[in-house]
């Protein structure tokens, strides 16, 4: 009995330790966002007077609304463009072995190239060859990163089970396209949504491309927040508030992501 309880205690200590490592910075940011600059730097940490003044300042003193708007625009557009394309690519690869293993290996390899290697050629393309507005350039870049990533995730959703359903639909009189849109896509929808959410979050948090391909007016949240750290010193308290606001959409999406990812992964259990 005693040793069982001891083991449980040990387990919780270890888990608690890891949780703390993840939670502490977030809690720290939360604390800072609710205090003023002077209290924020005090050690040991103090709570001091709590208020929402930093959250108000985020909207009045910075371009927060525009950054937020830019991020939403880029992430939504990039996801809307890449998701259907990625679904069709994954379908083609799964169903017809289009491109064979080199394609899927290439897709995987593209995820392993350090972004900095790609960003310079892209910068040249978008500044000299096809000059486009900053937001468009960032969106295109995000499509380029997200599409293979999403296709890679989705390839496994178009497996033997959906194939058999499609065959049934084809014999029922459906064209290949009808079978794809009316059977395969709805059946794989949880997985497709999960891939879309992952892509959205990836795009939302993306920094390097957004920084180098954009200009002042096309700053996304990730870039805008980073800029706060340099101009006129670090305005730590409003920065913390802005960071939490930037995180909010991702935090809101996470429960959905989890649900759909689990459903997507259990697609095989059609019976």
């Amino acid at each position: 009995m005693r040793s069982a309880r001891g083991a449980a205690l040990l387990r919780h200590l270890i888990l608690g330790g890891f949780s703390a490592v993840i939670a502490m910075p977030l809690l720290w940011v939360l604390r800072v966002s609710l205090t003023d600059k002077a209290t924020a730097y005090r050690l040991p940490p103090e709570i001091g007077e709590i208020g929402l003044q930093n959250y108000v300042e985020v909207f009045t003193a910075f371009d927060f609304t525009r950054w937020f708007g830019n991020s939403v625009t880029v992430a939504v557009l990039a996801t809307l463009v890449s998701l259907p394309a990625a679904a069709m690519m994954a379908y083609a690869a799964a169903r017809f072995r289009t491109g064979g293993w080199p394609l899927m290996l290439g897709v995987l390899a593209s995820q392993m190239i350090p972004p900095i290697v790609l960003v310079l050629p892209m910068f040249l393309v978008f500044t000299t060859l096809v000059p486009v507005p900053g937001l468009v350039a960032i969106t295109i870049a995000h499509v380029a990163i997200n599409l293979p990533f999403m296709a890679w995730i989705m390839a496994s959703f178009f497996d033997a089970d959906t194939r058999m359903l499609e065959e049934a639909a084809r014999c029922d009189g459906a064209t290949r396209w009808q079978a794809f849109t009316r059977i395969t896509v709805p059946v794989a929808m949880p997985g497709i949504i999960a891939a879309g959410l992952l892509g959205f979050i990836l795009s939302w948090n993306e920094f390097l491309y957004a920084l180098l391909l954009g200009n002042h007016s096309s700053q996304t949240l990730a870039v805008g927040l980073a800029s706060l750290e340099t101009h006129a010193g670090v305005n730590i308290a409003p920065l913390a508030a802005a960071t939490l606001l930037a995180l909010a959409p991702v935090l809101l999406l996470l429960p959905f992501l989890q649900t759909y990812l689990v459903k997507g992964l259990s697609l095989g259990a059609l019976k």
Partner: protein, 371 residues
């Protein structure tokens, strides 16, 4: 309603040295309104053949005709055949009703007509109460009915059934077997039914097509295939226990055919099987169905075989004995009436009905015709 014809049809998977001929130049004509059974061991190409007919698998060589029209390159959607898969392949995101309506909607049928067809089929199959459920909320047997219903509402030119009963328990399977036979009788639509269950094969079809290794071994009415198997494979495949196959030597002496089987002899008049005389002086395989062995001589044409009882299986209406020829010779089975006092290890003299004997050539495994 359709006739289906395969002319030297092959399906080759892969290419070059690794190419597999899953179906090897088969010729078959399924007549309009026929209930054809594809029977054979696992991997013999039954499903592949069915899928080629459905259009889900390309025809690598040869010609496939439906109602006399070459359909090699016709899309499955346009063949107007309905297929029922072993795992049913119901659309999981649609209700039973929508599953059934799917194919009709694609054909642009009016809602009212769709509704009445579904109602009719649902009643036939007894699934009215399930129409608004999702496939996940159905039992295996119910899914099977819905899958069948989805095919029935289409009123297709032919039904292709790929082991639709194999996931059901024994009782449900025999119920569905009867229902399928009835359905075929009322609809009169061409059906091809894939199975490796020989009871299904014997009872359901108007003809059986027995396959092995991508080839057709024999096609015929169930009783004909049973009575006249063309080779030892068919003889050994149909029925449980299958035909006994005993190594023997054939001689002709004094106007009689003499079969010597491990020291015992069966004699029969030469006139009864003149064709066998050509194999005199050679080794043969003697084929003898378990039900053609009796405890007492039946009629004039019998020959005694001394055996030793090895196992006794009392099945109720009959008893299956596994025996050894002589004391410890080749194994054979006998199907006897249920009453009898059989002890394991005891000697038993059985009487073979010599009018029911088969001979096979041990080299080619083909049947040796008696006349």
């Amino acid at each position: 309603m359709a006739s289906i014809e395969l002319r030297s049809v092959s399906r080759i998977f892969g290419a070059g040295a690794q190419a597999i001929r899953a179906v090897d130049r088969i010729d078959l004509r399924v007549e309009d309104g026929e209930f054809m059974i594809f029977l054979g061991p696992s991997g013999c190409g039954k499903s592949t053949t069915l899928r080629m007919i459905a259009g889900l698998e390309p025809v690598s060589e040869g010609e496939l005709l439906i109602d006399g029209v070459r359909v090699n390159d016709i899309d499955p959607a346009e063949r107007d055949l309905a297929i029922v898969f072993q795992n049913y392949a119901l659309y999981p995101h649609m209700s039973v009703r929508k599953n059934m309506a799917f194919g009709l909607k694609l054909r642009g049928m009016a809602e009212a007509e769709i509704g009445s067809r579904i109602a009719r089929v649902a009643e036939t199959l007894g699934v009215e109460a399930l129409l608004d459920r999702r496939p996940a909320q159905l039992s295996g047997g119910q899914r099977q009915r819905v899958a069948l219903g989805r095919a029935l509402v289409r009123e297709p030119r032919a039904f292709l059934l790929d082991e639709p009963l194999s996931n059901l328990d024994a009782k449900l399977r025999s119920v569905m077997r009867t229902e399928l036979i009835k359905l075929h009788r009322t609809l009169g639509t061409t059906m091809i039914h894939v199975t490796h269950d020989q009871v299904e094969a014997m009872t359901m079809g108007t003809r059986i097509c027995i396959m092995r290794g991508g080839e057709i071994v024999q096609v015929g009415r169930p009783q004909d295939v049973y009575r006249e198997p063309v080779d030892t494979f068919v003889a050994g495949f149909l029925a449980t226990p299958p035909m006994n196959l005993l190594p023997a030597r054939l001689d002709v002496a004094d106007g009689a055919l003499r079969l010597r089987i491990e020291g015992q002899e069966i004699a029969l008049p030469l006139a009864s099987r003149p064709g066998w005389a050509r194999h005199a002086g050679r080794d043969v395989i003697l084929g003898l169905r378990p039900e053609d062995l009796h405890e007492a001589p039946v009629g004039a044409a019998t020959a005694a075989l001394d055996c030793t009882i090895e196992t006794v299986e009392a099945l109720g209406p009959e008893t299956i004995l596994t025996l050894r020829l002589g004391r410890d010779g080749t194994e054979l089975a006998a199907r006897l009436p249920p009453e009898g006092d059989w002890r394991i290890g005891a000697a038993l003299r059985l009487h073979a009905d010599t009018s029911k004997l088969h001979l096979f050539d041990p080299e080619t495994t083909r049947s040796i015709p008696g006349n």
